[in-house]
């Protein structure tokens, strides 16, 4: 049983508010970024980075992964690793599908 001292609780509550502040700032940044005149790739990359940062903040401080045993963090990370793996597994099919769409003869042109 973990019992928290008043000092620990006060420190945790200050940390919670700091994390909230950063989450709000990062969300505002995300909204701002989509209206910048950058390329879609640059905007997308920055948004992914910001979302990953926000998700990490929630997991580390609100879900207390920062103070849990490392094995628990591995359990939490497993789905993320598997999803990245899934994306890479889909890549060859996606490339072929996009090429087929781009090089396909338009239906109207085929009938002319």
């Amino acid at each position: 049983m973990t019992v928290h001292t008043p000092e620990q609780l006060a420190h945790e509550q200050r940390r919670y508010l700091q994390v909230f502040f950063w989450l709000a700032i990062l969300t505002a940044l995300e909204i701002g970024i989509i209206y910048t005149p950058l390329t879609r790739f640059a905007i997308g990359s920055m948004l992914v980075l910001l979302a990953a940062t926000k998700a990490t903040l929630v997991a580390l401080f609100y879900m207390h992964l920062a103070v849990e045993k490392r094995t628990l963090a591995y359990i939490a990370l497993t789905p993320a690793v598997l999803c990245v793996f899934l994306l890479f597994m889909l890549m060859p099919d996606l490339g072929a599908f996009t090429r087929a769409l781009v090089h396909a003869t338009p239906v109207a042109a085929a009938h002319e």
């Binding site: 989509i34 045993k69 359990i75 899934l86």
Partner: protein, 257 residues
């Protein structure tokens, strides 16, 4: 061999303490459940990415979806995560009234989120002509946000059950969870039928108010949670933060990119 494993081997009984989460087995169970649930969301997001990448005619989401409203919904969920950690901090100090207050505020945030989602969906379907069957954009949008919305609904019910249990044990948990389900459905129906964001706010305030009134009426027995026994609150908090974390990703991938 660890002490827990030795105990299991020698006495054939389940060790009382999880080596990963010494507080409780329930916490480890919740983490394993969340990992599995994250894979469901991961599969849906990967499918969304695959369909979108393969379709050069995919619309730019911000041209169709209301970014300002969903940014506010994101902020709302972040605020509800703060009230959730404050609820846990309150009970860790033995503050029963603080636990109830912050849990009700968290439930309010969840109800308001669902109200805004009902508003957004109704607007998209009735005014913009979007639907789950129209195209891949509509299908992925409604499935992803709908699946997340179901999680928020489940979270509101779960937190209300914890709230009821804090007030009056298992009976209280059942009563308050049922009240919260009816109140949340009421918020969704009223918002969808009026297509008004104001109705979502007002409905959620009334719904959370009713939950608070029922909890206040039930409170008075021996406290179930205390500064030394609050694992159930922490486990419920894990679920709620997970719902917030997933929305952060859904908001970025479905609305912003």
């Amino acid at each position: 061999m660890s002490q827990a494993a030795v105990a299991e081997h020698e006495f054939g009984v389940e060790p009382a303490e999880s080596p990963l989460t010494p507080e409780s087995w329930g916490k480890l169970g919740m983490w394993v459940f969340l990992a599995a649930d994250a894979m469901s969301f991961g599969g849906l997001l990967a499918g969304y990415g695959a369909l979108r990448y393969g379709d050069p005619t995919w619309p730019i989401p911000k041209n169709i979806l209301g970014i300002q409203l969903t940014a506010f919904m994101t902020f709302l969920l972040i605020c509800s995560s703060v009230t959730m950690v404050e609820a846990l901090a309150a009970i860790r100090k033995g503050d029963q009234a603080g636990l109830r207050k912050f849990l009700v505020l968290t439930v309010l945030g969840g109800m308001m989120f669902l109200g805004f989602q009902a508003f957004e969906w109704t607007k998209l379907i009735t005014r913009e002509g979007q639907s789950i069957a129209r195209d891949n954009f509509g299908a992925t949008f409604f499935i992803l946000t709908g699946f997340h919305g179901c999680h928020v609904f489940g979270g509101v019910t779960y937190l209300s059950a914890v709230l009821g249990r804090a007030a009056r044990g298992v009976g209280g948990a059942i009563v308050v969870a049922l009240v919260a389900i009816l109140a949340t459905l009421g918020v969704i129906v009223v918002t969808a039928s009026t297509v008004s964001g104001l109705a979502a706010v007002a409905g959620a305030l009334v719904g959370a108010g009713v939950v608070f009134a029922v909890v206040s009426a039930l409170a008075g027995g021996t406290p179930v949670y205390s500064a030394h026994s609050n694992n159930e609150v922490e486990i419920a908090a894990l679920y709620w933060h997970f719902v917030d974390l997933i929305w952060i990703l859904v908001f970025t991938f479905v609305y912003l990119i």
